[in-house]
Symmetry: C2
Subunit: 219 residues, 2 copies
DNA sequence: GATGAACATACTACCGGGTATGTTGTCAAC
DNA sequence: GTTGACAACATACCCGGTAGTATGTTCATC
């Protein structure tokens, strides 16, 4: 069985809602205070529970954090899966991909912040040797995810639909732009789905122009 | 007297090199490990010294961090000062400003990462009440700095030299893009000043196009 | 009614921020 | 040229907070 929690699946857990609730709370706490400043008691308190509950499901704080990271990446893959292999030219595919990604950054902000911090932790080497391999796998998952975008813009450039200098730099700038809502977005009261879509399209338009996309999209 | 350290001034210190060396080491450590994960002993060790030296000059870890933040912002203002009030249209002024800023992000990466983390700490409210006012002042300094860019692109839009939707969103995207080298840049061996300039221009070109600047600059 | 999952409670151990107290060199005044 | 005062550190110590553990407790299920 695949119990549904929020909009992503937590298949691999035999137990349903419990771990998912922990993940949500952990994502919120890690986002609000950062990894080091977040104590297990913080997460437990925000659940109305105690340490015991968390340590019953996770062997360590780092493992909990890593699982939030993993869940975040899983959501990303799930989100873009329906639009990964659409027909048409690379530029059009990229627009759809990018838009879907940005909406995901906004909707799942807390998890995505953890993905960001986890990536930084890995790159800084701020992990114990045992956690190193776990984080390495997560980081590679994120790299593969990023490679989808990278390859698409490379193809669009070949098509003559994008113009930029170094692919590496363009890729970094694009990803930073598309991810940036995790830093500056905060929900307005009474905000509709259309409002979010509008914001997302502005982000995509900025990135598209930055990548030298042919027709300047305005929306 | 104004003793020079690196490329920025440390006027306000009666004592010269000592505090500056601490700042440099602290900036490195905070960048490598983050605020919480960095211990005062780490900073001291990277100086070949002990806690005593640091606590002789700074009353607390947060004050040391804040001073790195302050020094970083001071560098930024110093860097753009010569190009703040150049003649000409807003778009041209913006290009110069943006380029100078990006080069600064690359050259003073460690300090700028601290500025970033400090801003996040303030926005998250991860400060004690006493430190709150210090951080508020630093954050306001950074806001004023950002406002220079914001106002310039607003003017360029009025001139018809830029096209974008929401000023607020465009501003966020621009700043994230221009700041992004603090995340992905790492020096290549044998890299020249021209190489860095080339990277910086690519960043500026991306942001310019993203903002809908009229003539697509290529360099 | 026994077994184990799913927690809560109570406790330990350690790390790191901060402090209190040396130690050394320098410089000024007598 | 002695002393005393202070800056600039080093050393030794304290203590609170937190990750992790060990041990209950409850409830469901077989």
């Amino acid at each position: 069985m695949a119990p549904k929690v929020g909009e992503y699946r937590v298949d691999q857990y035999a137990t349903d809602g419990s771990r998912a609730a922990i993940l949500e709370a952990a994502a919120r706490c890690f986002t609000e205070r950062g990894y080091d400043a977040t104590s297990i008691d913080d997460v437990a308190r925000s659940l109305g529970a105690t340490k015991g509950r968390i340590y019953h499901h996770y062997p360590s704080k780092a493992d909990l954090f890593a699982d939030v990271f993993r869940a975040g990446m899983e959501m990303n893959y799930a989100a873009i899966e329906p639009v990964r292999d659409l027909p048409g030219k690379a530029l059009g595919r990229w627009r759809t991909l990018a838009f879907t990604h940005v909406v995901q950054m906004i909707r799942r902000r807390t998890f995505q912040r953890v993905v960001w911090e986890g990536t930084e932790m890995y790159l800084r080497g701020a992990t114990t040797p045992q956690q190193r391999s776990t984080f390495a796998a997560l980081h590679e998952s994120r790299s593969r995810y990023g490679a989808i975008f990278r390859q698409t813009i490379a193809e669009a450039k070949k098509d003559g639909d994008m113009r930029f200098g170094s692919l590496g730099i363009a890729n970094q700038l694009m990803l930073v732009t598309l991810n940036s809502p995790i830093f500056w977005y905060s929900p307005r009261p009474g905000e509709t789905r259309d409002d979010i879509d509008d914001i997302a399209w502005q982000v995509v338009a900025f990135a598209a122009s930055g990548l030298g996309a042919s027709e300047g999209e305005f929306r």
